[in-house]
Structure formats: C-alpha cells, structure tokens
Symmetry: C2
Subunit: 281 residues, 2 copies
C-alpha cells in the first residue's frame, strides 16, 4: 500500500494504473468506520486498483461548523485500509488541494438548495468542487458513495452526468450499528446518553416505513409519525423531516413514485442525518 | 476525417486515441477563419490526433445577445478542417450537450467579474462549463486557445489549474487581417464602412504600445490615447478600455509588471474585442 500526498504523483500513478486495468475510488474525510470499509470492499470487488482519499475538505464546512474539531487519525485509518487491501491512499494537505489564489467552484443548481442545502449554505458547492478535483486527480473508472449522504450522492450523480465525467458512480446502502444508528464519523461526538437518544432517528424511520408498507402515501401523516417520535425526547432538535422526490429532492405531498424520507437533527451539539427510501414493492 | 456527434462515441474514440499517442484539441464555435486555422495548425504540431469541436454554446450568450444570428456553415468548416489535416470534428447538437434537467455550472470567481464579465454577466460561467464538458468528452493532452479572447484564456487556465484537469493549455497569438483588425467570426456582421471604422481599434492599441515602449507607464495616460483615437469616429461606442494585471485582470494605475490593454466596443451593432500585452523588454 502506497500513500501519495501530491497531485502530480497521484495523476502519474493513475495514468499508469489505467493502462493495465480499472481504478475504483472511495473519497473519504478519514476517521474511518465500518461504513467506509464497506465502500472499500465494494471498490475492491470493482477495481484492479483501489484508491482511497483521506481529506477533510474545508470548503464544505460552514464558518460555524466543526472543521477544526472534525476527528482525525491517519495511522488508524491507514491500518484499517491496509487490512482491506487498499492499493493507494491519497492524502494531500489543504495547501496542495487549495493553493493561494484558488477560485474555481462548481454548483449543481436546484439539487444543492434542498434539504441540508437550506442550512448548510455552500456545503454542496464545496462537495461538488472537491469531488471534481479528486476525480481529475485519481482518474477512477468507478467511485463508490454511501447512500447515507443521500443528497451528496444525488449532487455527485448530477454533476457527473452534466459535466460528462467518464466515471461510474456506485451507490452503497447505509451501514448501521447493530441497534440501527447510521454509521458516521460524527457519532464519536455523542455522549452515552446522546447515543441512546439518537436511536429515535432510525426507529422513527422504521415506523414511517412500516406505515408506508401498510399503504400510507400522504407525506404529512408519515412526517408526523417521525416528528412525534423524535419529539418524545427533549434531547433532539429537528432541523428538517422531509419527504421528497428521490431524484429532484423536491418535497412531495403524496408519494407516487420513489420518494425519500430524509431527516436532519441535532442530538446535543452533534448534527446527525439519516434517510430511507420508500419504494413501491 | 471523422465527424462525431455523440458524447459517448467521442469518449470511446478518445480513450482509443490516448492509447497510441497525444490528443491536441481546438474548441470552436465554427464559422472558421484564419485565426482558428492557425490554432488547428498549432494543434497539428502538438498532437498525434487533432480534434476540433464546433459548437455554438448557448450558455455563454446573454438573453439579448446574438445566439440565433451567430454565423454557421458546417460544410465550409469541414472543408477547411479537412485541408488542415484534422482527424476528428466533434459536432454535437444542443440537446446532446445540455439534455433536459441540466443544472451544473462552473464559476471562476473574481476573474469572471472583470472586463467583459461586467456587461456579459454569466458569460464566463457558460464558457468555463462548456470547456470543462468538452475536456471530459475529448480528453485532450493539449488544448489550444487564441489570445484574442484574453479573459477567456485566463479563466480557462485558472479553471484547469484549480480543478486539477490534466491538460496543457496552449495560448496562441491573435491572428490579424493585413490591415490590423483582429480576426473574428463576428467581423462578418460589419458593413464596408464599419469595417473601415473598426481599424481604429488596432490602430489605437498600436499607438498606446508605442507610447509604452517609449517609457509611459501611467495607465490613465495610455488609456486616454486609446479613447481619443476611438472617439475620433462617431461609429464606435466604447464599452471599456482597461489596463489590467495580466494574471488577475485587476485594473492597474501604473504598469509595473506585465499588463494587458483590453478593449471592448461596438461598431454599429457589432461588439468587437481586442487586446495587447505590455511587456518589459
């Protein structure tokens, strides 16, 4: 396993790798958990060469967000990636990715404004921009993204299609703890009590999913189910509970095609998101 | 010489071409003149495979601009490109480049706001976006751009550097008619009288350049030289006469490093631009 820190070296290595086979890529911000490792295993299935990037991207954090305290542990990450037979870790620093005078940004209009885009203004511009950069650096045939960041996945898919990027985006289902909490590097912020409270998120989604399976198609009813359950604890502040079209992310009042139930809330100071897809059987 | 109209076919052909050698690319909006052909000859020197795109890009035209009347003549263009030993013409239609639901745009902040960006709002977003798309489709090693569109060149250079696009941008000096007028597809809009009037643009630049060579470094003085000459005809409306830093495009009051004298004006209804670089000997 190699660790590469410069853009130039990574591009040269990718050019070389593309001659012999397929590159499968997993972009991450590090502090890896089982969710990330599932993506790496998927990449291992798809590619001859597996590249994982570790880069805490400053342009996707707002001024009041947790950029500086975002958890980091490169040695631990490298150990885990080695065990998953990763070939290359791309691990640039901020200066390498955003040198002085940097000024180019990509926006995926409309999609970037819904859900998390309402409160995290500029977040998806940062995400789209860094992913475009990483694609130009790593030159992958496949890139694997978790469905837990559903809006991110949709923004990336749209960008790839619109800008004719020659890479296949592979979505991967959300990996959960045994008790249902969606895996996230930010879960490490939670106290023991907050950790228990946070279970209401997946539990409320399961209840809404059950109601949907029994035939309920009215979004206000399904959302009330979720909201009531989340409000059953004082420890949760809801940012949004949304039921939206699974492609456009526009709110739907009644579920006709595939729709997504997406939740963002705060448990203590920790912002958590989760989602589930309502699919007609 | 092949003409390719779909993104998919072009990408497959480019993948193939990259295995054997280097691709040199000239993006154009067609209605080719000697200026374009000089770029194609440069590309012929640089690449094993020469690709020229012809696409009148709607996203770089403002609502009141000349998109619909922009001159087009594919057969003539194809004939000229064949003579220059072009290998591939990429000639997509608007639906192929911007299908329904298209929503991704690239902005090069700051650079896009100066000079032509002030009146042509959104123009450079359109330019950056279509060039990024074309690069992802044609996958060139080299791309040749004329210096006549100086701000465009700088926006593209910045985008390529910022987004880590693995392509070398090759600038090419402005090609002029025997009497000095910079070549442009829009010159065909000019009446005989307007054509004569338009000579004041290059003549005024030559006069300012002469003054610079004699030691004048004060921008207001150099600009006045240009403006007075342009105002000597009733037929010219000045949009801007700017002396700016050759990299940041910010106005300079006194020339210390390399600077650009850039002019945009209307001769009748036709908008013409030109520029010259002040270089210390």
């Amino acid at each position: 396993m190699k660790t590469i820190t410069t853009v130039k070296e990574m591009q040269a290595l990718s050019d070389q790798s593309r001659k012999d086979g397929k590159i499968a890529f997993v972009p991450t911000m590090g502090y890896l958990h089982e969710g990330h490792l599932a993506l790496v295993r998927k990449a291992r299935e798809l590619g001859d060469v597996v590249v994982v990037s570790i880069f805490v991207n400053p342009t996707q954090f707002g001024p009041k967000e947790d950029l500086t305290k975002y958890p980091r542990d490169f040695d631990r990450d490298a150990h885990l990636l080695h065990r998953e037979k990763t070939d290359i870790i791309f691990y640039p620093d901020v200066k390498e990715m955003y040198p002085d005078g940097y000024s180019t940004y990509i926006e995926v209009r409309k999609l970037q404004d819904h859900l998390c885009g309402k409160t995290r203004v500029g977040h998806f511009v940062g995400v789209a921009t860094v992913v475009a950069k990483l694609f130009n650096i790593v030159k992958p045939h496949f890139a694997v993204f978790g469905q837990k960041d559903y809006q991110q996945l949709k923004v990336i898919e749209r960008m790839v299609r619109d800008l004719n990027m020659d890479v296949v985006i592979v979505p991967y289902p959300t990996v959960r703890e045994a008790d249902g909490l969606a895996m996230s590097s930010r879960n490490t912020y939670l106290s023991a009590e907050e950790r228990r409270t946070s279970l209401l998120i997946s539990a409320s989604m399961a209840k809404a999913q059950e109601s949907f399976q029994k035939g309920e198609r009215r979004s206000p009813i399904l959302k009330r189910t979720v909201e009531e359950m989340l409000h059953s604890s004082d420890g949760i502040d809801i940012e949004y509970v949304s039921i939206c079209d699974s492609e456009t992310l526009e709110e739907v009042n009644e579920i006709k095609n595939n729709a997504v139930l997406a939740i963002a809330c705060r448990v203590g100071k920790t912002r958590l998101i989760d989602n589930t897809i309502f699919t007609e059987a």
